[in-house]
Structures are given as C-alpha cells and as structure tokens.
C-alpha cells in the first residue's frame, strides 16, 4: 500500500508536479483551452436559445396573469354596477309602492268624504222636504181651522139671529154646528 502510494508520488515527481495532481502544470494548457471552449459554448447557447425561451414563457405568463387580473377587476366593477342598479331599482319600487299606497289611502279618504257629503246632502234634502211638508200641512190645517172657525161663527150667528134660544137649545145648536162642521171638515180633509 505504502509502496504504491510512493510509486504514484514518484510518477508525479517525474511528470513535474508534486503533491496534488491539480498543480501538475503539464495539464494546464489543455484544461485552460477546453474550459474556455466549453464555457463560451455554454454561454453562447444559453444566450441564443435558453434565455429567450424562458423570457418568452415568463412574459407570456405575466401577460396572462395581468390580463386575468384586469378581467377580474372589470368583472368586479360590473358586478358592483349591477348591485347598485339592483339596489336603485329596489329603492324605486319601494318608493312606488309607498306612493301607490298613499294614493290609494287618499282616494279612499276622498271617496269616503264624498259619500259622506252626498249622504249628508240627501239627508238634508229629505229633512228639508219633510219640514216643507210639515209646514204645508200646518199651514193647511191653520187655513182649515180658520175656515171652520169662520163657518162655525157664521152658522152659529145665523142660528143666534134667527131664533132666541135657551141654554139647552143653544148647546144643542152648537153641537149641531160642530157636527156639521166636522162632517164638512172631514169631507174637506179627505
């Protein structure tokens, strides 16, 4: 084991390097060359193909996301508009219903008042006509009483003038006169 390790050391020493193989300068030129070549090739290919591809993907995603966001924003605005419209409509219809109710109440009150007025007028008319009738009847009665009283007075006076009468006769005459009158009156009344 030790001998082989030594042999390896000897080989290094022979090739000009000591210790780590990394310090063996004989490999430097080829490694330097191929490091440059492979790194520059990587840089070129990344720059030419990979970076544009990833940028495309990221840009497309950003565009999609910002588009979606603005869409969502628009939709939100639209929804808010719809909600506002709905609420306005709701308020309007509530107002309209109130208005209708108020109108109906007013109309009902008017109708009632109207009916009441008409009724009052009718009653007034009936009362008036009744009063009129009563007045008329009263006047007629008075007229008749006047006539009867005049007739009675005439008849009684006639009887008094034509005969002197006793008391009993006088009473009898009056009674006759009244009954005459009554019959005349009832006839007249009927």
């Amino acid at each position: 084991m030790i001998s082989v390790a030594h042999a390896s050391e000897g080989a290094h020493a022979a090739s000009g390097g000591g210790g780590l193989p990394q310090f063996d300068a004989s490999t430097f030129s080829s490694q330097f060359f191929w490091t440059l070549v492979s790194f520059l090739a990587l840089l070129f290919l990344l720059n030419k193909y990979v970076i544009p591809a990833i940028n495309r993907v990221l840009d497309a995603r950003e565009k999609t996301i910002s588009g979606d966001l603005s869409n969502a924003e628009n939709m939100k605005k639209e929804a808010q508009q719809v909600l506002a419209d709905y609420q306005a409509k709701l308020r309007d219809s509530a107002k309209k219903a109130e208005q209708t109710l108020a109108d109906a109440q007013k109309e009902a009150a008017q109708n009632r008042e109207q009916a009441l007025k008409e009724l009052n007028a009718e009653l007034q008319k009936k009362q008036d006509s009744a009063t009129e009738a009563i007045e008329q009847a009263k006047r007629k009665a008075i007229e008749e009483v006047k006539v009867v009283a005049a007739d009675l007075a005439i008849i009684t006076t006639q009887k008094l003038i034509s005969k002197s009468v006793t008391k009993t006769e006088a009473n009898k005459m009056v009674t006759e006169a009244i009954s005459e009158m009554e019959s005349a009156g009832s006839k007249a009344l009927n």
């Binding site: 193989p21 430097f28 840089l43 591809a53 495309r56």
Partner: protein, 262 residues
C-alpha cells in the same frame, strides 16, 4: 506522453492491487488524456477533465431543453426548476448590480450553471470533477477578473485607478492603503479560484477516504465510514450549490464594483 505513461502506470497499479485496494485519495483528481491533440504546439488534448466539462455543458442544455419542451404557461416540475434557476440568477444580478447589470445576466447564469453542474456531476462515482482543477476555476476567475477590469477602465478610464485610493482617507495613509488595496484587488481572482477548487478537492478527498475505508474494512466496521460517506455526499450536494452561488454572486459584486466605484 509522460502523462499517458503515468496514467497507464497508475491504472496497472490499480489492476494489480485490486485484491488489496490502496489508499490513493488524490487519484481521482488525476487528469488523463483521452484524445491527444495539439494546436500550434499547444497541448489541447481532450482529457477526462475536458470530457466532463463538455458533459456538464451538454447536461445543462439538455436540462433546459427538456424543461422548456412545451414552454407551458403553467409550468411542470422540471420547467419550474429551470425557471427557478433562471429567476435566481436574474435576481442575483438585479440585486447586486441593478438595471445596468442586465447585459451581464447571461454570463452570471452560465457561470452559475457551469459551476453547479460540474460540482454535482463530479459526485457521480467514476466521474471527474472539473471544478476541482485549479486551472479550470482559475480560468473562470481570471476571465471574470479581466472582464471587471475591462468594465472599470471602459467606464471610468484612468479614474478607475481611484479604486486603489478610497475617498475620504487622509493623504498620509495613502502610501499604506494603496498597496493594501492593490493586493486585495489582485487577490480577488485568486480567492475566487482557490475557494471553489479547494472546496471541491477537500470534499471529494474526504469522500474518497471514507469510501476506501468502507471497502477495505470488514463489513461490520465498514458501516461507520459508509454512513459518513452517505452524509458527506449530501453535504457535498449542498456545497455544490453554495459554491456555484458564491461564484455567481462574487462575479456580480466584482462587476458592480467596477461599474460603480465607491
């Protein structure tokens, strides 16, 4: 050639020692050539280190390709994960540099994922951790350093030298402060490189030792290092993320310092 021969020697040593495993905790940091190549006399062989860097790069691209298969608006699990990493790096740049830092975002994203995938793939048994190589982390760190100096000079010109002379200091202190500021400025790429390299090296070395003990000890005793290795693997995954994060955020901080001098 020397490297190949040592690699082969190491391999044969391994094969010969399979009956009795040897403790070689640094063996898995050994860079081995796979395809020898050279360019203008430069050695640019494909090694296990460069192979695993390429695998990491391929894995990152595959990860994003699978994650973004549908480019879905509503992401699945994998796409969420990819977006999370993306947004994480973007916020890192935004928070540390601000709007002006936007053009450095691809760099920070690439650094984060490069370091992260190298750290994580290195945990696969038999794989290679490229970020455990000082030259790899050093290349990245020096690149970031050069970039930040370039930004500073481009924006502030000679005024960028004021970085080394913080405002509001008495003149008498300047001879003391300027060398300190210069050293701390130059230490940035070193600390950036060494932090990542040392974290990866130390973690993997300890893991290697624990697994070595698990294999060599009798089963009843091997349970103890095995349980350590299990816990340490979890810790290493965490460290892989943390180190990638630190590398990315320090890159942002250095760029920001160069842009907005204090």
């Amino acid at each position: 050639m020397m490297m190949i021969s040592t690699a082969i020697a190491s391999e044969t040593a391994h094969a010969a020692a399979s009956a009795a495993p040897k403790l070689e905790p640094l063996h898995h940091f050994q860079v081995q050539k796979i395809v020898p190549l050279s360019l203008f006399g430069w050695d640019i062989s494909i090694t296990n280190s460069s192979l695993w860097m390429m695998i990491s790069v391929a894995a990152i691209l595959l990860f994003f390709k699978m994650a973004l298969k549908n480019e879905a608006k509503v992401p699945g699990r994998l796409q969420s994960l990819a977006e999370m990493g993306f947004v994480f790096a973007r916020d890192l740049v935004q928070d540390n540099i601000g709007d002006e830092g936007r053009k450095y975002f691809p760099l920070v994203l690439a650094l984060f994922f490069f370091v992260l995938f190298n750290n994580l793939l290195g945990l696969i048994p038999g794989s290679f951790t490229a970020t455990s190589q000082l030259i790899v982390t050093g290349t990245l760190a020096i690149g970031v350093f050069i970039l930040s100096v370039g930004i500073g000079v481009a924006r502030h010109g000679v005024g960028f030298l004021k970085t080394f002379a913080p405002g509001g200091l008495p003149l008498a202190l300047l001879p003391l402060m300027i060398p300190i500021e210069v050293i701390s400025f130059l230490a940035r790429p070193v600390s950036l490189a060494v932090r990542l390299f040392a974290n990866m090296t130390a973690g993997h070395t300890v893991l290697g030792v624990m697994i070595f003990f698990t294999v060599t000890l009798p089963v009843w005793a091997g349970v103890i290092p095995l349980s350590f290795a299990v816990v340490l693997t979890g810790v290493e995954i965490f460290i892989g993320f943390i180190q990638a994060y630190i590398f990315a955020i320090l890159t942002c901080v250095y760029i920001n310092d160069a842009m907005h001098m204090h």
